[in-house]
């Protein structure tokens, strides 16, 4: 279980907003672009500067270093100089002696601008060549002839909407100046090293002048991987120029208006099958709404390509994808990272096929499930029969066929409340697709009082990485986990960190931790052999050993034995050739299947997701409560994405759903009963103690909520148009029921 749980429930865990501040601290407010596209002509900050309590108003002209925070592409100024590309683009920073005064100062700033035409439609953007990078294409076999020869061919369009992260802790950073040219930044970021690098660049300092610390995050889900950067850099800029500590926190509304969401997608698919439902060919093209700047959009797009065929073997595939530029705030990483849109699209295509063939969807899914030996279009081969196992176990233990028959019986007389059950199989690749990010360094230190500190390159945001590392270290050293404490994430303790993302934070850091512990333990065992004359094995558990851990550590210190060890792990054998679009981008795949049962009120179009059963290939779980929590939470986030979570903008690009009152996430009563079986498959050489990743995949298993509800709609209204649009809100459901 989470070690921090008791702290959390008693309100004693420290988040960035709880950090004690020096009295000299200034509070920052950001003045942003009120328009989605335009040219900035002038900024008038006179009134703001004259306000009592306002200490400074900073603009791009005040930046000593480089006014640039784009990483994949240099297309993102920290403070706009000329181009206003979206509503929420920072233009000026107001520093004042209270948060309220700073906000009033920001409201007093006036700008002159020329408004330009906006584009929010991804298809129009594509046709106008507003793109980030080139179109990518994965191919396998010969789709052209397969389509010609196939018995069944259907085609259509899919639309996936944006999703708001709605982390409970909004974007926040504190920057504290030290010495003449050093800064300590405390930031709610999944990516401390990127903040260190970019703050240094903006401030014109070197990276060794900047230390970034992250105590923990109040939720992130991808939303603090790239998008914590501007606020941290702005706080740093304010601290550099005023010499005061600066705190910058976004309000809920600011956060919702100004930061990016999950990428909306529009996709065209064509799928072909033989008379038995075996898929012969799949042709798909994804248009991604990247928003106004590149951010991580091309990386997100790449994962869409990798997961285009989800958990199915398809002999002939042609997958194209392109990231398009619009005037929405830049869309960004969100749990699943491009995979949800890909997987929803193939599931929609299969659903369409099933309708055309008048077959139950699950039979087509079952017939085409991945088998060992199948080669993906990008070159990797399926290694295990885990997916087949998950599918069979689900059917057997959760009595799927019996329940389907019960449901059919229940629905036979067309009652007001129609029930449906939808299955979703999943294959998800584990690793950063940007190969170089698959590295981590960890330092394990035994202190002279025998307690153990661990510095890791991952950020705790509720996913339990800190607990998993503590378990790993305790097991590896042969001591109780109570002795182990993982430090707050710090760029000086764990240099050159990769972002905590891609579900690999626990994997990478655990592997490094194991290496460090092995070296430490060997050293201590050698020492005890010499010092005590006892022949200890490397498997020794020091909690029930004649030589106590305390004694061993105390003596080792006196004998000048190094009690600290740093280790580095880089996932072996990963590569990807982006010219050939072939390689081994993942260290392994995880597999799972969900069954989602729902009830639809055909009179009102409202629905309830009643229960979800999951079988998931978890390898050897390090902590079942943590892994269960990832599964349950991810599922509900995915169900929210598929059902009630809807973002609306007005025609000018202004967000309409900018609060908890208008953007609805699932609550307890609307959430299903969830029952999870973890398959403890034997060995996984790429995971710590044979564990497997579980951060993102559960969200994808929630997508079946869409098909569960849409099945009920079609049972009620045979002529309902097939409309694969996420989310399937009660509004869309009712309109479909009576179209």
């Amino acid at each position: 279980m989470h070690n921090d749980s008791e702290l959390h429930f008693s309100g004693q865990s420290t988040f960035v907003d709880d950090w004690p501040l020096p009295e000299t601290t200034l509070y920052a407010a950001v003045f942003v672009s009120p328009i989605a596209n335009g040219l900035l002509k002038s900024i008038d900050a006179q009134k703001a500067r004259a306000m009592p309590g306002v200490k400074a108003v900073l603009t791009a002209a005040d930046i000593a270093g480089e006014n640039q925070i784009g990483e994949i592409m240099p297309d993102e100024e920290l403070l706009a100089t000329k181009n206003l590309k979206f509503i929420g683009k920072p233009i000026a920073l107001v520093l004042a002696d209270s948060p309220a005064t700073a906000q009033q100062g920001a409201q007093a700033i006036e700008i002159a601008y020329d408004e330009l035409a906006t584009e929010f439609n991804v298809r129009n953007a594509y046709h106008n060549n507003m793109t980030f990078g080139d179109e990518r294409q994965f191919t396998k076999g010969d789709t052209k002839s397969a389509f010609e020869q196939a018995k069944w061919v259907v085609s259509g369009q899919v639309s996936c909407a944006a999703q708001e992260h709605l982390y409970f802790e909004t974007q926040i950073s504190i920057a504290i100046p030290v010495d003449k040219d050093r800064l300590k930044i405390i930031s709610a970021s999944q990516n401390p090293s990127a903040i260190q690098k970019l703050a240094a660049k903006v401030l014109g300092l070197s990276m060794n002048s900047i230390e970034v610390e992250v105590p923990r995050l109040g939720g992130a889900f991808g939303g603090k991987e790239e998008q914590a950067k501007p606020w941290a850099c702005l706080a740093a800029l304010g601290a550099q120029l005023t010499g005061h500590p600066v705190k910058l926190a976004l309000s809920r509304q600011q956060d919702m208006h100004w930061t990016g969401k999950r990428h909306p997608y529009s996709a065209d698919y064509r799928i072909a099958a033989d008379e038995t439902g075996r898929i012969q060919a799949y042709d798909v093209k994804f248009l991604q709404d990247g928003g106004a700047v590149a951010d991580l959009s091309t990386a997100v797009l790449e994962r869409t390509l990798f997961h285009a065929t989800n958990a199915y073997q398809i002999p002939n595939a042609n997958v194209k994808a392109v990231s398009c530029r619009t005037h929405h705030p830049s869309n960004t990483a969100f749990r699943g990272f491009g995979a949800p849109q890909a997987i929803f699209t193939i599931e929609a295509a299969i659903d369409h096929l099933a309708c055309a063939m008048n077959l139950p969807r699950w039979k087509i899914q079952q017939k085409n499930l991945l088998q060992p030996g199948y080669r993906f279009d990008y070159g990797m081969t399926v290694q295990t029969d885990a997916l087949q196992n998950c599918w069979q176990q689900l059917f057997k233990h959760k009595k799927i066929e019996m329940r389907l028959a019960d449901i059919q019986k229940h629905n036979a007389n067309k009652p007001r409340y129609i029930r449906s059950l939808a299955l979703t199989p999943l294959c998800f690749g584990i690793s950063f697709t940007a190969t170089h990010l698959n590295q981590a360094s960890v330092t394990v230190t035994i202190y002279t009082d025998a307690s153990i500190g661990v510095a890791i390159g991952a950020v705790e945001m509720g996913q339990g990485v800190v607990d998993k590392i503590a378990i790993i270290v305790a097991r590896s050293l042969g001591v109780s986990v109570k002795r182990v404490r993982v430090d707050f994430t710090n760029s000086s303790k764990s240099p050159n960190m990769s972002p905590t993302a891609a579900s690999v934070g626990a994997d990478l850091n655990s592997m490094a931790a194991i290496k460090a512990c092995e070296k430490l333990k060997l050293r201590l065992v050698d020492f005890s052999n010499t010092f005590y004359g006892v022949d200890l094995s490397p498997e020794t558990n020091f909690e029930n050993n004649a030589i106590t851990w305390e004694d061993l550590v105390a003596n080792a210190y006196l004998q000048r034995i190094n009690l600290s060890e740093h280790a580095f792990y880089a996932t072996p054998d990963l590569y990807f050739d982006r010219v050939k679009e072939q390689g081994t981008p993942f260290s392994y795949h995880v597999y799972g299947v969900s069954a989602i049962e729902s009830t639809l009120d055909t009179l009102l179009g409202t629905y309830h997701i009643d229960n979800v059963d999951v079988v998931y290939d978890l390898g050897q779980s390090l902590d079942t409560i943590i892994d269960l929590g990832q599964m349950e939470g991810g599922l509900v986030q995915g169900i929210g994405y598929a059902t009630m979570e809807e973002i609306r903008w007005d025609e000018k690009g202004k967000l309409l759903t900018d609060s908890f009152a208008t953007y609805k996430i699932p609550d307890l009563l609307s959430s299903p009963q969830i029952s999870v079986d973890f398959i403890d498959s034997p060995s996984n050489p790429h995971g710590p103690f044979s564990a497997k990743a579980i951060g993102e995949p559960p969200l994808l298993l929630g997508l079946g909520a869409f098909f569960s509800i849409s099945d009920s709609i079609r049972l009620f209204n045979k002529t309902a148009p097939i409309n694969y649009t996420l989310p399937l809100t009660p509004e869309r459901a009712l309109l479909a029921l009576y179209s």
Partner: protein
């Protein structure tokens, strides 16, 4: 306005009572255990326990929607005031109900509120008490496990305990502060703020402030809070009326109505109306005076032919509203009572609303029907739709044509004929015009289903 109250057993006071309680706790006293996630009463993270001198029990309330002046003379317990080594927290922590931890302190408070105020302490009841505690991480299965574990651990002990606060203090769940005795409250005329209404100038009148404090930033305007926390004079029964206070918290109204069993339909209304901490602050008067087209209270009480009493007059509820979010209340006028004729309380009353999420969500369209069925025919009916026009509307033409209609027949044709002209829905972030129009019709058909089902069971 000054303030003085008891916080975690210690007296606090000051000059600026307009500061929000959450900001006072977090940024003035550095009691940062209480978290703010939405700052609009929608997430439950910032809940605190509040007992006014005129209340028998502590209740969970949103500290983001309360000013310090609202805490005057109250006892407030926050997460930072709970005893260390709290056994409730130990049980909670092992349930997996916490991941990132930001919503966790609010959940602890929400569960203590359940243990203090729950009637059955069943799993279902626990879920309804903490449903407003939103969580973005866990998917709520941990919360369900926590309710079960805590219910099993405490329900028997608490249901038989004479004094739940004392019991929870004994077992180290609540701090051992001296709890103020219950004082019967003042009548309306003696309310501390009521006199000020007479001389009101720039001040804003508020019920519990749960809507006002969303938009009205601290210290911009003086606020006169009309909320009454005393537990007497909440509901009055006379020969011809059930009279309901407009100035008491809605949950207190619901509890009182429940005890008196005088308006059974109100409990279903209450279930759909906001979350428990909001209901512990919000008033029917505030809900009405806001005059929102989707105000559940207007929809419900319009169908009940309610007479509104203010400090100046009595007026049928339908005549109170003059347009979108507009009433004809004068500057110094305060809604004090809702009088529901006793004759209508015996009718079958069915309130239903459709929203995106279902619970703790604002209606897209709501509908309340009041039906009398005689010999399988409609002998009396009132139908109100909210969210389909600038103000909730009574569907008189449809009502007239439903009289004498047989339960054996469909009402769809009548609805089709009489609905369209009666409503004028708009597009907004909650739903499109087309959707609202269809939904209005479907809710009326659902009324009919409900009436038929009721008749079958009778």
């Amino acid at each position: 306005m000054t303030f003085a109250f008891d916080l975690n057993g210690k007296a606090v006071s000051g000059d600026d009572g307009s500061v929000l309680l959450i900001d006072f706790l977090r940024y003035q006293l550095h009691l940062s255990g209480t978290k703010a996630a939405c700052r609009e009463g929608d997430c439950g993270s910032c809940q605190v326990l509040v007992k006014s001198p005129a209340a028998r029990m502590f209740k969970a309330m949103p500290s983001c929607l309360m000013r310090l002046q609202d805490c005057q003379n109250c006892q407030v317990i926050t997460i930072d005031g709970l005893p260390k080594n709290n056994p409730l927290i130990t049980t909670l922590a092992s349930s997996g109900a916490s991941q990132c931890g930001y919503c966790s302190p609010g959940l602890t408070i929400g569960l203590i509120n359940w243990l203090l105020n729950g009637k059955a302490l069943s799993e279902t009841e626990g879920a309804s008490f903490i449903n407003a505690n939103l969580c973005r991480c866990t998917g709520y299965m941990g919360q369900k496990r926590a309710i079960k574990a805590i219910g099993e651990e405490y329900s028997h002990l608490l249901l038989s305990a004479e004094d739940r606060v004392a019991f929870l203090q004994k077992v180290n769940v609540l701090p051992k502060i001296v709890v103020h005795a219950y004082h019967q409250n003042t009548t309306p005329a003696q309310s501390p703020y009521y006199a000020q209404v007479q001389n009101k100038s720039a001040a804003i009148l508020a019920g519990g402030g749960t809507d006002l404090y969303l938009h009205n930033k601290p210290s911009e305007n003086p606020v006169i809070s009309l909320l009454k926390t005393g537990e007497d004079h909440v509901v009055r029964m006379s020969d011809d009326c059930v009279s309901i206070s407009a100035l008491h918290p809605i949950q207190l109204v619901a509890d009182t109505i429940d005890t008196l069993a005088c308006l059974p339909a109100f409990s279903s209304f209450n279930h759909w109306f906001a979350s428990l901490p909001i209901r512990n602050r919000a008033t029917l008067g505030g809900n009405l005076a806001n005059a929102s087209p989707i105000a559940d209270g207007i929809c419900f009480f319009m169908a009940l032919d309610t007479i509104i009493e203010t400090n100046l007059r009595q007026v049928p509820i339908g005549q109170l509203f003059s347009g979108f979010k507009q009433t004809d209340l004068s500057l110094n006028e305060v809604i004090t009572w809702l009088h529901v004729p006793k004759s209508v309380t015996r009718d079958y009353i069915y309130f239903e609303k459709v929203s995106r999420r279902g619970t703790t969500d604002i209606a897209v369209v709501n509908c309340c029907g009041r039906w009398q069925i005689t010999d399988n025919n409609v002998s009396r009916v009132a139908l109100v739709l909210g969210g389909a026009s600038p103000v909730p509307v009574r569907l008189t033409s449809l009502e007239n044509n439903l009289l004498g209609h047989s339960l054996q027949e469909s009402i769809e044709e009548l609805v089709d004929t009489h609905l369209d002209a009666a409503i004028s829905p708009i597009d907004d972030s909650r739903g499109s015009k087309v959707y609202r129009r269809l939904l209005a019709k479907q809710l009326l058909l659902s009324q009919w289903e409900s009436v038929k089902e009721k008749a079958n069971h009778a």
